[in-house]
């Protein structure tokens, strides 16, 4: 068991990094910011789930999904359906032609709840659906693609097309989905008002806790033999195959896991923001979420969280003061990260932290053998240096 724990914490250095992150998001930010800003951070942290999933999938597995918004959206819609049913009790919807169903269904002449909404009357079933449906969907996509060895660019483009299809479908079937407006006006969860400041704080901490749990789970996966194989597959897929591994199964698994983590983020998003809309399933948010991971460092789980916070903070700040400049900055960020900082914040940290005596001491004392993750980051850096030279 202690071995498992050690793997999750990622050795001493990993444990310290995680502790700093936990202190930062659970103590420093809540103390330093007003409730409004905390609400924002809470929203950003739900995106961080997607960024973490992309570190697993893209950074370590080399699989770039431009459709992570699909899973974020599925999780978010699952939660939104539950909350909407609770908000649509017969009393508060008395003015409708059919009281007791969500308002948008009534506007679209539906007279009874569609069958696939039924399970979402129950919270346990909703939570199950939030975890299982995205994973199952990912399994279907992954099975079809990875078994036929669709990878790289093709995978990226096809996931993007699927995101587009799904968002057109949701917009088009508005009687069942709420259409382009999404599912809005969510109020309570089991009678507990999710819109109050105190509820926001509770949800914030639940969210932060879940995020850290997801990072621990991801750490465990990455430090197991699975993680080593993932890296191996990214760099030499053929060799892994000819070492007797069914590469596609590994890819399917990591894709499903990434989908599940993204879906948790989506569900927490709905809870904190109070609605869900099809804009999250589309192409643009899916690509933006990739940049969160890239800014943080595509190999670093913790970096992904910082990257998400940094980009979103920048977006909010800049769009308050210089809305016209924001797109330049965002676009420039994509280019700069790819060209100059391929390992993002984590890469910069790795490079310069060694020069700070205190930090150097920390990393030197970290127990050997060094984790695959660190090894890979350095190796990529060596390669980059080669490219630049």
């Amino acid at each position: 068991m202690s071995d498992t724990l050690n793997k999750m914490l990622g050795g001493r250095q990993g444990a310290i990094g995680l502790a700093i992150l936990a202190v930062f998001i659970m103590i420093v930010l809540p103390l330093g910011l007003d409730p409004f800003r905390i609400g924002l951070i809470g929203k950003y942290l739900t995106y961080a789930f997607v960024a973490v999933s992309l570190v697993l999938l893209w950074g370590n597995g080399g699989i770039l999904s431009l459709g992570q918004g699909i899973f974020f959206g599925l999780g978010g819609y699952g939660m939104a359906m539950f909350l909407k049913l609770e908000a649509s009790d017969p009393v508060s919807t008395a003015i409708q032609s059919t009281p007791g169903i969500p308002d948008f269904m009534d506007w679209n002449q539906l007279t009874s709840l569609p069958w696939f909404w039924e399970p979402f009357k129950s919270l346990p079933l909703t939570i199950l659906a939030i975890l299982v449906i995205p994973a199952f969907f990912a399994y279907l996509i992954g099975f079809a693609m990875f078994k036929r060895r669709v990878g790289g660019v093709y995978f990226a483009i096809i996931t993007q097309a699927i995101a587009l299809i799904l968002s057109i479908l949701i917009v088009g079937q508005q009687g069942y989905t709420g259409g382009v407006n999404g599912i809005t006006d969510l109020k309570t969860m089991l009678g507990w008002d999710i819109r109050t400041d105190s509820a926001k704080y509770v949800l914030y901490y639940v969210n932060a806790g879940l995020l850290i749990a997801c990072i621990l789970l991801s750490r465990y996966v990455l430090s197991s033999k699975f993680g080593m194989l993932l890296l191996a597959m990214r760099d030499k897929e053929e060799r892994v195959r000819f070492s007797g591994y069914d590469v596609s199964n590994f890819k399917i698994f990591i894709f499903c896991l990434a989908a599940m983590i993204s879906a948790i983020g989506g569900a927490m998003f709905t809870l904190q923001v109070g609605f869900m809309s099809p804009t999250f399933i589309g192409i643009v948010p899916s690509i933006e979420m990739v940049i969160f991971a890239a800014v943080g460092g595509r190999m670093s789980l913790i970096g992904a969280v910082y990257g998400t916070l940094l980009v979103n903070f920048g977006k909010t700040m800049f769009s308050e003061t210089y809305p016209e400049l924001w797109l330049f900055l965002m676009g420039g960020l994509f280019i700069a990260v790819v060209m100059f900082f391929p390992n993002g914040i984590a890469g910069v940290y790795e490079k310069y932290a060694k020069k700070v005596p205190f930090l150097r001491k920390l990393s030197e004392e970290s127990p050997t053998p060094k984790t695959a993750q660190v090894a890979a980051v350095t190796a990529v850096e060596i390669k980059e240096a080669g490219v630049k030279a």
């Binding site: 699975f226 060799r239 090894a375």
Partner: protein
């Protein structure tokens, strides 16, 4: 054809790419503990034959039987698990991992998704890694990152990774390419050692090296077998001389 004692029986094997027959009705039989060398000019189809056996390329027709089990219908990882190991022409190792990790990844346990998630580094694994590392003369550099190895060491490491799987048939594509004379000698010794309890197919151009290791030699030309037999006989074969020197 019925069951045989051969470890590998290749019969009527054909593959064509857009009409061009890279391998044409090939028949080849490998004995237990045999070390076979396949030679032939460029484009003769040598690498393609290995690709066909290990499943990288699917045959157009014909059969490949390994210990009387048909391989043409199996996928790559199933063929590996059946006991066939394959080394590629250019060293194919995980440069980002250490020598130790390279070997450990190749250990034939924890090959499933969940097996790998809960795989534990126990004493059997450590012992096997050290045993193989000794065999390939790399026991003292286990913690070195593979990217930093010399070209020859990379070739050995890849052979070591195959040995981790305890294959019954080992296929090596140009194992001494890019090696120094001393390294070649060491590799020859290594190959002679490891074919004690398994069969080995080697593709090689270096005739001196072939002489040192080959039990039997097969000469391929335009996807067909030109000659087969002991090294000195093959070297004396007129057709072989013509192919190598004629054009």
């Amino acid at each position: 054809m019925s069951n045989t004692d051969f470890v590998l029986a290749v019969e009527d094997l054909t593959v064509s790419f857009d009409g061009f027959k890279a391998v044409d009705k090939l028949n080849m039989y490998i004995d237990k503990n045999e070390l076979r060398v396949v030679i032939g000019p460029n484009g003769a189809g040598k690498t393609t034959v290995l690709d066909l056996i290990c499943g990288k390329t699917k045959s157009s027709s014909g059969s490949i039987k390994f210990k009387n089990r048909e391989l043409t219908k199996l996928s790559e990882h199933e063929i590996v698990r059946a006991g066939v190991g394959r080394k590629f022409q250019t060293p194919s190792i995980y440069e980002n991992l250490s020598v130790y990790q390279n070997l450990e990844v190749s250990y034939p346990k924890g090959r499933g998704v969940f097996g790998s998630l809960f795989f534990k580094r126990n004493e059997a694994v450590v012992a096997q890694v050290h045993k193989i590392a000794r065999e390939i003369m790399m026991e003292d550099i286990l913690n070195t990152e593979a990217a930093l190895l010399s070209h020859g060491q990379k070739q050995w490491l890849e052979i070591g990774m195959l040995l981790m799987q305890e294959p019954e048939l080992l296929m090596l594509d140009e194992p001494v390419a890019g090696m120094s004379a001393k390294e070649r000698d060491q590799t020859a010794e290594l190959l002679n050692r490891i074919c004690q309890n398994r069969s080995v197919i080697v593709i090689e151009h270096d005739m001196e090296f072939v002489k040192k290791i080959a039990h039997k030699v097969t000469v391929l030309h335009q996807g067909k077998i030109l000659a087969e037999g002991a090294m000195d006989k093959v070297q004396a074969n007129e057709k072989v001389i013509e192919v190598y020197l004629g054009h």
